[in-house]
């Protein structure tokens, strides 16, 4: 157990060399990677979204590709295309950027719904279908989509059904005062991301992904997860609460988070930790709810204070 948590610590430390002061976001990203989920980063441009993904890719030694979504991007630009080879007189598949371990989907809300759904099918199914042929994606396959929260003309906000394909939604936020100064120091002589070397093998990541599924979830914790998810359905000013898919996501996330902490079982603390990131974007707020983005996270956090944690034998409902 300590072996893998040591490795994960190394990954996080390595990434932190580049992405200053974002340990939490880094940890959550690794969590999503190990849980087999994907991350939606919702933040303004320039806070280091790309850098975060690139650093993780470098530290884990995984293959990394990037798609800049634009309104004229076609689904085949994502998935790849079959080209007729005149020498062999056959159609040949030329894989698109989706054929990689880590995919950065920049400004995913800028492209047309058709292209979006091509990507999201890949997210959910783990494979792509081009011209009737299904191609298995790599393992691990990890998508990090970014979304600019500032409303712009010509954007296509992701539909609710597609939002919950993402395990986490994370906000990076601006760095602290001293962090920003620290960052400038590091950038003074070239970009440090180029100097990063992998600390783990791809096989390690694959093995860890398998082990995450072995993390034990007790009845008490399952009850806690269900209590949380059900409560979201009764929240004020929420049109639609979290679906059962959200319960599964929460459990997976908690398993991965517990795994990262070096534990063989899930504690309520793990659930509590990941719940806002897992559930926030799955809420559909009422149309007239105004206010800054991310207030759904805070709603979840407030809600957590009302849900009692099963912590004694008599708390377990049988």
């Amino acid at each position: 157990m300590n072996h893998h948590s040591e490795m994960i610590r190394q990954i996080i430390d390595t990434v932190e060399n580049v992405v200053v002061g974002k340990r939490e976001a880094v940890t959550l990203t690794i969590t999503a990677l190990l849980a087999g989920g994907h991350v939606l980063i919702e933040d303004v441009p320039g806070v280091g979204k790309t850098m975060l993904v690139r650093a993780i890719a470098r530290a884990t030694g995984l293959d990394f590709k990037r798609i800049q979504f634009t309104p004229d991007l076609l689904p085949s630009d994502v998935t790849g295309v079959s080209i007729y080879n005149q020498h062999t007189k056959e159609f040949e598949f030329r894989p698109g950027p989706v054929m990689s371990n880590i995919l950065l989907a920049d400004e995913v809300n800028r492209t047309s719904p058709k292209t979006q759904s091509a990507l999201l099918e890949a997210l959910e199914e783990g494979n792509v279908t081009v011209d009737g042929c299904t191609y298995q994606l790599f393992d691990p396959f990890f998508v990090m989509a970014t979304q600019n929260p500032i409303e712009h003309g010509g954007t296509y906000p992701l539909p609710e059904a597609q939002l919950d394909r993402f395990l986490f939604r994370i906000q990076l936020g601006y760095p602290e005062w001293h962090e920003e100064i620290d960052m400038l120091d590091r950038m003074e002589h070239g970009h440090p991301v180029d100097q990063l070397t992998p600390v783990v093998e791809v096989e390690d990541i694959q093995r860890m992904k398998m082990e995450v599924k072995e993390v034990f979830v007790s009845d008490a914790v399952k009850q806690y997860i269900v209590a949380i998810v059900r409560e979201t359905r009764n929240l004020d000013r929420v049109e639609l609460g979290v679906s059962p898919r959200g319960s599964i996501a929460l459990m997976r996330a908690a398993q991965a988070y517990a795994y990262i902490q070096g534990s063989s079982y899930v504690r309520p603390d793990d659930v509590k930790r990941v719940a806002p990131y897992t559930l926030g974007h799955r809420l559909v707020l009422e149309a007239d709810v105004l206010g800054p983005k991310g207030q759904d996270d805070k709603m979840i956090q407030r809600m957590l204070t009302r849900i009692s944690v099963p912590s004694t034998r008599k708390d377990i409902v049988t």
């Binding site: 034990f216 534990s263 079982y265 504690r267 309520p268 944690v309 912590s311 004694t312």
Partner: protein
């Protein structure tokens, strides 16, 4: 305000109450100041109108009259002639005062939300009324405490609501419920629990005396509660009395015995009537010639404040001499045995006298001959007055007496049987809450069959009346018990201090050839009269005067003090044996004190008790299931000391809080183990080494530092 009629001669209390309520109402409704003022004026004048003047309120006549009166009386007020003030004006001032008080109260309660000051003042006021006037403050005190507590809790609550606006209403309901039940409980306990009697004499009589309008003489009658003392009015017996330690006389005497004042023989059904007689003699006749007597002397100095000329002497008084040498002759009223010193200027009592008296040894054998079936001697014919009984004496008194003496063959044994019966377990000695019989009720009948609780008058009168129903000539004797024995001087004279609380009554029974023999039916008292016996078969242990004296001291020690409460005596009366009922009483007190002490200790040491129990309960914490229980009980204990795990807190979060509070890391470690077992479903054979030690260490730390 209810005590008002007691203190002043104020009528219309109800009216004043209504007006006060109206004042409060005016205060409570928001309105401009001028309107409020006008409303006050209208209320005051209108209520004056209702009380005093039949005329219509809305008329010019009334108002002009009112203003004139007001004007005149204000003049009187400022010229200081307060006694001249009329009722109307006094009521006017009263209403004015009430309006001000209502304003003040309202301000304090509603704005300042403080009532303690008023509460304390009210309690002091009622306490003072209770102490210094005839007003009985118990109801008022209970009322005030109840209302005061209620106000306290409501005000406290409203302050809290102000401070914590978020707390739900339901919790206030719970708060009020707890407050009210605590209040009810404490009032109920306070009301019912035995209380110490006052530690100093009731100031009222003292004040009255000092002020010069106290009751004349010693021992008053007519009031429900009297002070003990030697009085002259025995026509209406009954009622409780207060102890009074005022000295009556001090004496140096060779013998120890009751100080006889006089005897009475006319029983009315309510008390003993004095019968005037012109017959006088020069000495007290008590004993027949055959009775062996011994002459003794006593030097008596009377307290100057003790009025009256009556002399008190042990035995039969034979002669009196003033210590200052003035010649005095003894003058004795024939029927009652009242003795006076007759000097040159008529009857007067020198402050210090030497009394010569005879004490007798009563031959039990001879006494036992009287009324014996074989005995033919009759009582002197003029003794029929000692058999007098009222016509309306209930028959059951006689029947009871017959039953008691059924097996006795002679007069002496019968007298002893009655005496035994009265000193027996059926009756209790108490000086408080003794009723005065109603018009149609008989004093003796009430005592014997209804109350069965009383003091010497009850016992002695009952004995006398019962003996008379058996045709035994008996009279009722008043005087003092021997008093508190002091030093013994070189001549063998013992000094006795006799106070009002030594006042006593007993009976004398006539035996031919012997004379008048004293008997003592009151439990806890003993006459030191000598009964000479040929053998001890009787079981009467009264021959030795010294023994008697000691016995009496013992018994006096055991006579219940005035503190005795109703409940205790009620339960004591169920007891079989009189002395043991006293000890039962003490036992009750001791038990109660012990119980209170134990509860206080238990309360103070409750934390210690819990931890001790926990330590013992979870000794040998090896298997995981024991550990889980031990951990959960630790959580419970933390909760109990106020460190409550919030519902939304995970065990780890709680553990961090606990560790921060007690500056340890034990809770974290223990919680990890618990989580391993609870969330992790780890199967362990044994809990890790040192777990129990950690648990104990943490428990110690918590119990020491909380």
């Amino acid at each position: 305000m209810l005590p008002l009629p007691e203190v002043t001669e104020t009528g219309f209390v109800f009216m004043f109450l209504v007006v006060t309520a109206v004042f409060f109402l005016i205060q409570a409704i928001p309105m401009p100041l001028i309107v409020r003022f006008l409303l006050f004026v209208v209320t005051i004048t209108y209520s004056l109108n209702v009380i005093f003047m039949p005329g219509t309120y809305v008329s010019i006549d009334w108002w002009s009259l009112f203003v004139t009166e007001l004007w005149q009386e204000t003049g009187l007020l400022f010229s200081g002639e307060w006694l001249q003030l009329g009722d109307l004006y006094r009521s006017f001032l009263m209403l004015l005062l009430l309006s001000m008080v209502s304003y003040l109260m309202f301000y304090w309660i509603v704005y300042a939300k403080r009532i303690f000051f008023f509460f304390v003042l009210t309690v002091i006021y009622i306490g003072a009324l209770d102490a210094f006037t005839s007003f009985d403050g118990i109801g008022a005190i209970i009322r005030v405490v109840a209302i005061g507590f209620l106000l306290f809790s409501i005000l406290h609550m409203s302050r809290f609501t102000f401070r914590y606006p978020n707390v739900r209403l339901r919790q206030w309901g719970r708060f009020l419920f707890v407050a009210v039940s605590v209040m009810t409980l404490s009032i109920a306990i306070g009301w019912q629990a035995p209380k110490y009697s006052q530690q100093w004499p009731d100031p009222l009589p003292v004040i009255e005396e000092a002020a010069g309008f106290g009751p004349e003489g010693w021992g008053s009658s007519g009031d429900d509660v009297r002070r003990i003392g030697y009085g002259d009015h025995d026509e209406q017996l009954g009622g409780g009395f207060e102890m009074d330690e005022t000295e009556v006389f001090t004496a140096r005497a060779e013998t120890s015995g009751y100080w006889r004042g006089e005897s009475k023989h006319e029983y009315t059904g309510h008390g003993w009537e004095s019968v005037e007689s012109d017959e006088t003699s020069e000495r007290v006749f008590l004993y027949e010639d055959e009775t062996r007597t011994r002459t003794s002397e006593a030097h008596v100095s009377f307290n100057e404040q003790f009025s009256g000329d009556l002399l008190f002497s042990q035995g039969a008084l034979q002669a009196v001499a003033a210590e200052n040498g003035e010649p005095y002759m003894l003058q004795v009223e024939g029927a009652t045995g009242r003795s006076y010193a007759n000097g040159e200027e008529g009857i007067a009592r020198p402050d210090e006298v030497t009394l010569t008296y005879e004490t007798a040894e009563f031959p039990v054998e001879i006494m036992q001959e009287a009324d014996h079936p074989d005995y033919d001697r009759e009582d002197p014919s003029d003794y029929h007055s000692y058999l007098q009984l009222p016509d309306d004496l209930p028959e059951r008194v006689g029947q009871l007496a017959e039953e008691i003496v059924e097996d006795e063959e002679n007069r002496y044994d019968r007298v002893r049987a009655i005496e035994r019966f009265l000193t027996g377990p059926d009756f209790d000695y108490d000086t408080h809450d003794i009723p005065v019989p109603d018009e149609g009720e008989d004093y003796v009948d009430q005592f014997l069959f209804e109350t069965q609780i009383g003091y010497c008058d009850n016992f002695s009168t009952s004995m006398a009346v019962m003996l008379r129903t058996l045709d035994i000539p008996t009279r009722w004797v008043k005087g003092f018990t021997p008093g508190e024995a002091g030093e013994v001087d070189e001549n063998g004279y013992t000094e006795y201090e006799v106070t009002n609380s030594n006042a006593h009554s007993w009976v004398e029974v006539y035996f031919s050839d012997v004379g008048w023999v004293p008997f003592e039916p009151t439990p806890g008292f003993s006459n030191a009269a000598e009964y000479e016996m040929a053998d001890f078969d009787e079981g009467e242990a009264s021959e030795d005067p010294e023994f008697d004296q000691e016995f009496q001291q013992d018994m006096e020690d055991q006579v219940p003090d005035e503190e005795e409460s109703e409940e205790v005596s009620a339960s004591a009366s169920e007891d079989d044996d009189d002395p043991s009922s006293f000890s039962f009483w003490w036992l009750g007190i001791l038990g109660g004190v012990g119980l209170i002490f134990a509860s206080v200790m238990a309360y103070r040491l409750r934390g210690k008790m819990i931890t001790t129990w926990m330590r013992r309960r979870y000794q040998g914490m090896h298997d995981t299931s024991t550990y889980v229980r031990a951990y959960e009980s630790l959580i419970w204990y933390l909760n109990w000391i106020g460190l409550k795990k919030a519902g939304n807190e995970t065990p780890t979060e709680f553990a961090k809080r606990v560790d921060a509070r007690f500056n340890t890391d034990e809770m974290r470690t223990l919680t990890n183990l618990y989580e391993d077992l609870y969330y992790g479903n780890h199967q362990l054979e044994h809990v890790p080494e040192g777990t129990q030690r950690r648990w104990l260490k943490l428990l110690d730390k918590i119990s020491r530092n909380h």
